[in-house]
Symmetry: C2
Subunit: 310 residues, 2 copies
């Protein structure tokens, strides 16, 4: 971790989520000098343990003779996190810089600024961490107007216009998939290698069924078990059908105002590709933007705000 010169590290970007933390050492010109990550996510730490966890991760990047700025987003700013960064309320810009908070630190080599999440009153919703990716998208495309999809355990959809987040919606799709496929009665028909390639035909069948206006999730789930018993639905097909059914429900439930708008999927890897493919199947062409790149662009925008404020 110490094979870079601490003098070259201008500032440190941190994405501190519920279950893991990722950090980047950045040069003054914004180049990534090094990456680090650990499993010491917010849920594993008491408030007085965050500073130690951060030093463990980035201590080797710190200069001894000056203060290094750390800009952090994510659940680190939740009420149960290091220090609460109260939500900014939409409609607003995704980077509510004036609401950043700085926890008191023991180590004089650091200053930490935590970015607040966003909240919406009606219907009630909250976002914490993903707003930085929207800020990064807007840093790259200031005139972006449309809907942003952020897949994850909880996927987030946001409407962006005039540089602001106008509204957003959270779906527990990934968490429901995990609970249903691993812990419900449906698991009996889904056992086997979860890492094998997705059964595309079964995924698309589930997607169409889920996206139908008349199909309610609660009435469709047990059919996956029954088809396994009666028709020999295989575990890979059952898993793919469930994934399609849930993502189809999500796409079918999107705010009506968002239909016909441009869609941008922020993400990397298999899940983002699955969303893009699902949108494509339903006739919606979506841009895909790399999550790490816009996360860093958003944290860099927050860092620049701080520098201007200083």
């Amino acid at each position: 971790m110490t094979d870079i010169s601490a003098t070259a590290v201008s500032w440190i970007a941190v994405d501190w989520g519920t279950s893991q933390v990722r950090a980047w050492a950045l040069s003054a010109r914004g180049e990534i000098l090094q990456r680090a990550s650990s499993a010491r996510g917010m849920s594993t730490l008491a408030p007085d343990q965050f500073e130690g966890a951060l030093l463990e991760l980035v201590g080797g990047w710190l200069a001894e003779d000056r203060v290094t700025e750390v800009v952090a987003c994510g659940m680190v700013g939740a009420r149960q996190g290091w220090r609460e960064a109260p939500y900014a309320q939409v409609p607003c810009v995704p980077l509510a810089g004036e609401r950043m908070v700085s926890p008191t630190l023991g180590d004089p080599r650091l200053r930490v600024s935590i970015i607040p999440g966003l909240c919406q009153r009606t219907p009630a919703d909250v976002i914490r961490g993903e707003e930085i990716q929207i800020a990064g998208l807007l840093a790259e495309q200031p005139d972006y107007r449309g809907v942003v999809c952020l897949p994850g355990t909880h996927s987030k959809w946001a409407e962006v216009r005039d540089g602001q987040v106008v509204a957003f919606q959270t779906f527990m799709t990934g968490e429901l998939f995990a609970l249903l496929s691993q812990q419900s009665v449906l698991r009996h028909g889904m056992q086997g290698d979860a890492d094998q390639p997705m059964d595309e035909v079964a995924f698309v069948a589930g997607l169409h069924a889920g996206a139908q206006g008349s199909q309610r999730l609660i009435g469709a789930l047990f059919g996956l078990r029954a088809e396994g018993l009666l028709e020999g639905l295989t575990p890979p097909a059952a898993r793919a059908r469930l994934s399609g059914l849930l993502i189809g429900q999500e796409l079918g439930a999107l705010d009506e105002r968002w239909r016909g708008q441009q869609v941008c999927v922020i993400g990397g890897g298999e899940l983002a590709e699955r969303y893009r493919c699902a949108l494509d199947t339903l006739g919606i062409t979506a841009l895909t933007v790399d999550a790490e790149r816009v996360t860093l662009a958003g944290l860099a925008a927050a860092h620049a705000n701080l520098q201007r404020g200083a």
Copy 2:
């Protein structure tokens, strides 16, 4: 367990589910002489362990000098149970007597007959155990025509006409409630005493929201967490809202053909009462029938079929 005279026991009724087994010693006139139950449900037993588990439960009720008839329903007849009793396919009478199966036994004092479940091809669905309650309802009310609701971990709805089960549908409502309230992110806003009385106002609010045609479950769940964070939604209210939302989704998803038909809720205790109350709130008056009574009436009808066949 042996405080009744084995000579008075005419036959034994057994409801052998996934997680528990209940047995009744019955006189020739159908009186309940004694009840017994244990946690040795189907999921805890290998096929060669069922006879021992049954003897442990009802051994004291057996006469030494003759064969006592045992009639069993439920998951004991599943593929992973004692001996598979293959499904009868609807439309059919709920007691497909000619399909009962008898496992081979070591103890000469017993004869066991296992009642098959029902299956439906399109959409695929299965029922195993609840069909006996429908048979019991029809034993009491041979002309019953309407919809039967059987609340439970998986609630079952069946359309009954001319003494037959015409169609049925399974909802994983109870299982979803348990997973979401105990294991998902929503649990953080639902902790506390689950046994305290239901918050009726919150239940009804959830019910109306869930039953709305336009409300998708997947888009509504996270709002419970967000309202806890933003509006101070209390844990009892959040639990009740989730219960209402799920039961509302279930009632909203019922087969359209069933609207306007008579509804009979079979069950006992708090859950059946919650369904009856939900139906009432949505303007549907339902009969309520005691589950133990119709379970025994159904098993008695199966026993009588056996006697006639003998």
